[in-house]
């Protein structure tokens, strides 16, 4: 099934690229999304079944695949608005959609692959297509961001590959003949702890560029400052989820070994350092996209805290990851509307947004409530569970330090949002007609997070429980 999906996606992408026609784009991209929805449904009905030899529909893949499908659909809608507002020519539009399809396909492959080396290859493919999308506006800044992202990501992922090769040593020693996650996890008890530690560290360091976490976060932040906002919405959510997925799967491999306690400390440290860096960087942020990019860093830091404390923290970490995806995507989708209205990218030129466009202002306010994890946001539930796990796990100092820096981040977030919503406008204003569902979709995404946080359906909780069962 997956092989068919990949062939289909590549064919659609090539057709869009060659045809350079708006009609072809309008027909083929929705067709691609439809096939993605069908794949998500298929994966749910074929849970834990191996597909196309190298792939497996496990619970985490199904969950993140579903998130990616929903966000792909929304991204298509917002991409149409973005391209219309920019007045992009049909050739450039076709290139954009062709690259977007390949980018999404590479993420689908990453979500479902059951082989660590193929996961590496899929993630490297996401880097290539992401860099093409970052460069879409063809400006000097876009060129710089695309180069830095592609180069540092490639070097980082190359370092991660060394970690995978270390895993292959372990696999060979244990008599394994392939690098599937299931095989590695089953043989992990007999693995050499030194190899495991080196391997985990290299994988974490290399893929930190994808998760926007310490140490290789900088280029990801720069890329998100420049990329088109619908692409940003995917890069800050679905792509970050892919990065989480590889760390999570490596974590499952070592969960049954003596190295587990050490790995928990490493994740805790990575999470806290990322929180500290995000809060320091937010003191001098001047662009809205950059504000959101550092917010992603903060939330992934919180996810890592949950992952490191164990118990209910595992459940909360996955929950937080999914909620963050919907909320952050909603925020990024609105950026284009704000930039067009104020004809600027700088926060100090924004102001009075609530008065100028009350419905859009309301959507933004709801976004603020959601992203800062205020009740009734689902993120409040997941963050509460993570800190509960930390306090119950006697991690008082870590919890205290984290809460301090999260409060600082909260302050900078609210300060900037209040400036945009209520302060007198400093720049030029260009009114434009709102697209009919532009803010409705955002409000729906935020409402989805509230619904999933307050009364999560059984399908949802069962899948998350199946995900964390690998660690418990």
């Amino acid at each position: 099934m997956l092989i068919l999906f990949f062939i289909f996606s590549i064919c659609i992408s090539i057709c869009i690229f060659i045809a350079k026609s708006k009609i072809v784009n309008r027909i083929l991209f929705p067709l691609f999304i439809t096939s993605q929805i069908a794949l998500s449904a298929f994966s749910y009905t074929h849970q834990d079944i191996v597909d196309s030899y190298f792939f497996k529909f496990d619970a985490l893949g199904i969950l993140l695949g579903a998130v990616l499908t929903i966000l792909s659909l929304c991204t298509y809608y917002y991409s149409l608005i973005y391209l219309k507002r920019k007045g992009v020519k049909v050739k450039s539009e076709s290139q954009y959609f062709a690259a977007l399809i390949l980018f999404i396909t590479a993420m689908v492959s990453s979500n479902y692959t059951g082989n660590i080396a193929l996961l590496w290859a899929s993630i490297e493919a996401t880097t290539l297509f992401a860099s093409i999308l970052i460069f879409h506006e063809r400006t000097k800044d876009a060129l710089e961001a695309a180069w830095k992202y592609l180069f540092v990501s490639s070097v980082g992922i190359a370092i991660a590959f060394i970690g995978i090769l270390f895993m292959s040593i372990i696999a060979s020693n244990s008599g394994l003949n392939n690098l599937s996650f299931d095989n590695l996890a089953s043989a992990s008890e007999n693995m050499n702890p030194i190899w495991l530690k080196i391997s985990f560290l290299l994988i974490l360091t290399g893929f930190s560029v994808k998760i926007s976490l310490f140490p290789l976060y900088a280029v990801a932040i720069d890329a998100k400052t420049i990329a088109p906002s619908p692409v940003n919405a995917l890069m800050s959510t679905a792509l970050v989820n892919v990065g989480f997925l590889v760390i999570y799967r490596s974590y499952v491999i070592i969960s049954g070994t003596e190295v587990m306690a050490w790995a928990q400390h490493v994740l805790m440290l990575t999470g806290i350092i990322s929180l500290i860096i995000a809060s320091i960087q937010l003191t001098r942020v001047k662009r809205l996209k950059r504000l959101y990019a550092f917010s992603t860093m903060e939330h992934m830091g919180i996810v890592f805290l949950g992952l490191s404390v164990g118990g209910i923290g595992y459940y909360a970490a996955v929950l937080h990851l999914i909620f963050h995806s919907f909320v952050k995507a909603g925020l990024f989708y609105q950026i284009n509307q704000i930039h067009t209205l104020f004809k600027s990218k700088w926060i100090y030129n924004f102001g009075g947004f609530f008065k100028l466009n009350p419905f859009a202002g309301l959507a933004m306010l709801l976004g603020l409530v959601s992203i800062t994890a205020m009740p009734p946001s689902g993120l409040f539930v997941s963050e509460f569970m993570i800190f509960k796990a930390m306090f119950f796990g006697d991690k008082f100092i870590y919890a205290g330090v984290s809460l301090f820096f999260i409060t600082a981040i909260l302050y900078f977030f609210i300060k900037n949002f209040l400036q945009i919503l209520y302060a007198p406008s400093q720049g030029t204003i260009e009114f434009q007609e709102n697209e009919p569902y532009e803010n409705v979709i955002q409000i729906l995404l935020y409402s989805l997070v509230i619904y999933l946080g307050v009364t999560p359906p059984y399908i949802f909780t069962d899948l998350i429980n199946a995900v964390v069962s690998g660690l418990n």
């Binding site: 030899y53 190298f54 082989n115 080396a117 193929l118 590496w120 290859a121 899929s122 490297e124 493919a125 880097t127 290539l128 860099s131 093409i132 460069f135 000097k140 800044d141 060129l143 710089e144 961001a145 695309a146 180069w147 830095k148 592609l150 180069f151 490639s154 070097v155 190359a158 370092i159 590959f161 060394i162 090769l165 270390f166 292959s168 040593i169 696999a171 060979s172 020693n173 394994l176 003949n177 392939n178 690098l179 050499n192 030194i194 190899w195 720069d222 400052t225 420049i226 001098r284 942020v285 001047k286 662009r287 950059r290």
Partner: protein, 209 residues
Amino acid sequence: MVLLFIIFYAVTLIYFALSERVKKFVVLLSLQGFLLFGVVFFSLYKIEIFDFIFILIETILVKAIVIPWFLNKVRKHNNLKKVHEPSVPVFYSIIVVVTSLIFSFLISNYLKDNQIHTLYFTVAFSSVIFGLYFIIIHKNIFSHLVGYIIIENGIFLFSLAVGSVMPLMVNLAILLDVFMGVLVLGTFVNRIGNTFDSIETDNLTKLKD
């Protein structure tokens, strides 16, 4: 015979440290490709024939011919002749290469594992370290691309050192990614050269707030 190829590979690293001419970088990368071909030819003949042929083609065609040819085109497009910014003197660079070789040798002995071939591991690991060092000391993005390929070559040797168990399909996906990566990076080097009239990294500092 294999040992000779690997020792020659280590020598190419020292030559990288000595060189300042961009053309020499490309020649050395091509030489590394041929040396890796030799290593594969004399050491991997016991594996399955399709895998063996695939890896041979990968080394000779991609690493020794196509990538250096493409880099040469990028070099000519940007009119690159010599790297002018030896921020670290050549003497120190040679010391770094030798130190990385000694360090890698000590690590491979410390890690003692039946699966690891000490000499392969030593040269491969020092190639990765040197690739990173090469990127750090140079201030133009073409040299950064060369450094990235040195790292990739080191990782390829590393995969031979540990006798990895990658199936052919996975190997193909990895090769395609790396190859595409180099092509796209090379294209970006040209774009940056055209847009900024220079490929120095000093031009690429506009993104911070």
